[in-house]
């Protein structure tokens, strides 16, 4: 229930604390995109070194997994995924949607790494997956950063007005 509904107005100190807390939260949120990019970069390192890190799949494992999809099919799917994801992010930028950076993209990209690995063509396609991830996550983080920065500016302006009012009240008191 809001303060207006209850009929009570919060004190200036409470308002100030709420604004400061909001600014702190927005600052944390504006860096969320960078965390997503860092997490994706960390998952890409083992993928890049897959030849040296992971042992080759044994015929028994290959038999258990079944016939892998062709690399052309995975690449076509990657291009469709990149196109859709970029369109969605651009749509969110246009609408000014405050949705957070979706970490689910990292999961999808790991799946692409895994599919390429099981098809035995990960080294040839590593850069394509990396470029996809970096593009989508950079766009998302840029959107969140600009949105958060605008909100921070608004909150800072409100804080400045509030502090001015508090100063005037102190002088009068």
């Amino acid at each position: 229930m809001s303060n207006q509904e209850t009929g009570s107005t919060p004190s200036h100190e409470t308002q100030r604390a709420a604004l400061l807390e909001s600014i702190r939260r927005l600052r944390t949120r504006s860096h969320q995109g960078l965390w997503a990019i860092a997490a994706f970069a960390c998952t890409s390192i083992p993928a890049m070194l897959s030849d040296q890190i992971f042992p080759p799949l044994t015929p028994a494992v290959k038999k258990m997994l079944g016939t892998p999809p062709s690399s052309n099919m995975i690449s076509a799917l990657l291009v469709v995924y990149a196109f859709s994801a970029i369109l969605l992010v651009l749509g969110r930028i246009t609408n000014g949607s405050p949705k957070m950076v979706s970490f689910s993209h990292i999961g999808y990209l790991i799946c692409f790494y895994a599919f390429y690995f099981f098809s035995g063509v990960l080294p040839e396609n590593f850069w394509a997956v990396l470029a996809t991830g970096m593009t989508i996550l950079s766009l998302e983080s840029y959107h969140i950063w600009t949105l958060s920065s605008a909100k921070i500016k608004e909150e800072e302006e409100a804080l400045a007005i509030l502090e001015r009012r508090m100063g005037q009240e102190k002088k009068q008191g």
Binding site: P59, S71, V79, F83, E124, A128, T135, L139, Y142
Partner: protein, 284 residues
Amino acid sequence: MLQSIATRTIVPVGLAVTGFVAICCLSLYSIMKQDMIDDAAQSGRNIANTVVLSTRYAMLHNDRQHLGSIIANIGQHQGVEHLRVFNHNGVITFSRNQTEIGQQVNKKVEGCSGCHSGEKPAEQLAAVKQTRRFTNERGVQVLAMTQPIYNEPSCSTTSCHYHSPSQKVLGMLDIGLDQGPLQNSLALMRYRMIVFTLMTLVLTVGGVAALLNRSFFVPLKKLLAITSDEKPCDFEQQLESGYGELSILARNYQRIVARLNDTREALARCRNCSKEKDDTDDNG
């Protein structure tokens, strides 16, 4: 700077276009590379098949000298890195490199493991598994194909040279082709794709930036300069009418300022009038 409309418009467009073009080019390059390798492997398998068919008559008559001569001659062909025939037990019986003859082939290496991974060797193998890529001792990248030499009725029934009918595979022909020309073609293709991608990016991002600059940012800057001026007058002449909504905005602004000026003047006149009236009343 980072919060300006220009940056906020061009950065997402630039990122999206650059990223997507890069993704498409990388995927396309990977697909084309795989297609070219598959084509090279197919022509390699055709060569291997041709060698097997060429040596068939000599094998059927157990003419080892003739067989050795065929292998040596084909092996001297430019681009052929190795050409050898090994028997059912994996012992090299004919080779372009005479020093290899009599050596045992390691069944665990790639190219052999496709058939010899299980307890019983496979008799049929997919074409893809007959192909392997490696760098040889001379540092040459090699695309090698193994072609099984299958038992035929004429092989097991001939009186001079007998193979058991139960033996499905008599031996293997192993041919290795130099991948140098293929790598050169791939490098050329890569270079051309990079140039094409850069040109596309410059044209796309540059075109969008130039159009935005011409039709939005330049009039916006003018409008900002006009509206921040302390004496906002005559700006209709400064912002041409060909900028659509921005020109309308400028005209609206002019109307508001004109009304404000009129109101101010009227207010000042009223104040003067009332002051004069007060003065007259005081004097009277």
